[in-house]
Subunit: 215 residues, 2 copies
DNA sequence: TAGATTGTTAATCGATTAACAATC
DNA sequence: TAGATTGTTAATCGATTAACAATC
């Protein structure tokens, strides 16, 4: 377990979930073997790039002419991504986005389990949203510590994000998934993953502007 | 208007919305001038990187010792990102995530305006979700064409995503913001922006795994 | 065997960082 | 003037792509 894991380039890492989704789809169709060129074609990627990516995470490797054993490849990627052990998480801010995320089915497929929600809204506290209990903010620490939760999802309005972040850090949260459009200040040992919807929007609106100019 | 715009590296482009959020925050605090080193410190970025990024989009440039005029810098970034002209969009799939997105305030701040929602659910059709009317799928084409809408947001279950995507393309949509974990096949001239929540999740769960191993 | 596919080594490309002269 | 900050040129770094030998 403590053996050194192959280190995978960051860009490769970001593509792994895409491979996983694609490969799972192929598996459902009853495919047994899969080759890098086929994956590349299916996802519009460079063939060599895919080959390198897959080689980086596959334990048993592929075979010339036949490619990879699909089942093993999926397991290897899942293992690499850490999807084999489900992680518990809390979500703070049960507004529109927060409650949408609570019921996001993708979580289970990707190794995350939301155990509770938190909000300041008196009307929400004590109720259940999509089957998850909602608690007041001041119980974050107690619940995280007693349940050993180490992942926190921030879906509060921007101006409260830093405050919530601080509470999370004090409560033993190690990794934060931040949906607020704010840069969170955290100690060095805490991981922050920013979900930058604004950046995506920017790319989208920029590229459409270009398209229209080219007409 | 048809002058050649400075071409900005893709990575720079992704950081622009972050700068924008940060700078808007500074503006609210009454700051007048801002320098690259301060932005770098505030966002935990390399100083030279920030200087290059800002230089790439700023029209008037900065002044030694004083830095940039904050107000102009914000306008330049907004202009570059195309936030000065609001774009109309439709959203297909008004489930949890879809309805959360309809009311996502970030849209307005970033130049997007959702004009209508679409769903197959009979109970939703004809109602309003956060002030936006919901229509049946078979009216996508008509509404997009008559209102000249060119951006589509896909928040349907994975297995319907490609089908909806096809309808969008036929309806004159030029850019698609895809929240389904599926690779969409589109003609070359259509832009697809994938919002890969799964990839973020992967990074998060991976990094937390590492942290725990290092204990 | 012939040929598709693998894995690897080398070349290219682009982005980040470092160094530095110019300037207010 | 002195020094902080700009913008630019060069060096480094990492990722992508191309070329190719190995293999089933």
């Amino acid at each position: 377990m403590l053996e050194n894991e192959k280190s995978v380039p960051k860009q490769t890492f970001k593509r792994l979930p895409e491979y996983l989704t694609f490969l799972r789809g192929m598996a459902e169709e009853g495919v047994i073997n899969i080759s890098a060129p086929i994956v590349a074609k299916g996802l519009n990627l460079n063939e060599v790039q895919v080959r390198k990516d897959l080689a980086a995470v596959s334990e048993s490797g592929g075979k010339p002419r036949t490619g990879y054993l699909l089942r093993d490849l999926i397991l290897d990627i899942e293992k690499y991504l850490g999807y084999d052990n489900v992680k518990d998480a809390i979500i703070v801010g049960v507004g529109h986005l927060g409650s949408a995320l609570i019921s996001f089915e993708g979580f289970k497929n990707h190794g995350l389990n939301v155990v509770a929600g938190f909000d300041t809204n008196e009307k929400l506290i004590g109720t259940e949203v999509h089957g998850k209990k909602i608690f007041p903010i001041d119980r974050i620490s107690e619940i995280c510590k007693s349940s050993n939760v180490h992942i926190g999802i921030v879906t509060v309005p921007d101006k409260y994000a830093q405050e919530i972040c601080n509470i999370m850090v004090e409560s033993g949260i190690l990794a934060i998934w931040n949906f607020a459009q704010v840069h969170l200040k955290v100690p060095d040992n805490i991981i922050v993953q920013n979900e930058n919807l604004a950046a995506s929007l920017a790319i989208l609106s920029k590229s459409i502007k270009k398209t229209q100019l080219n007409k």
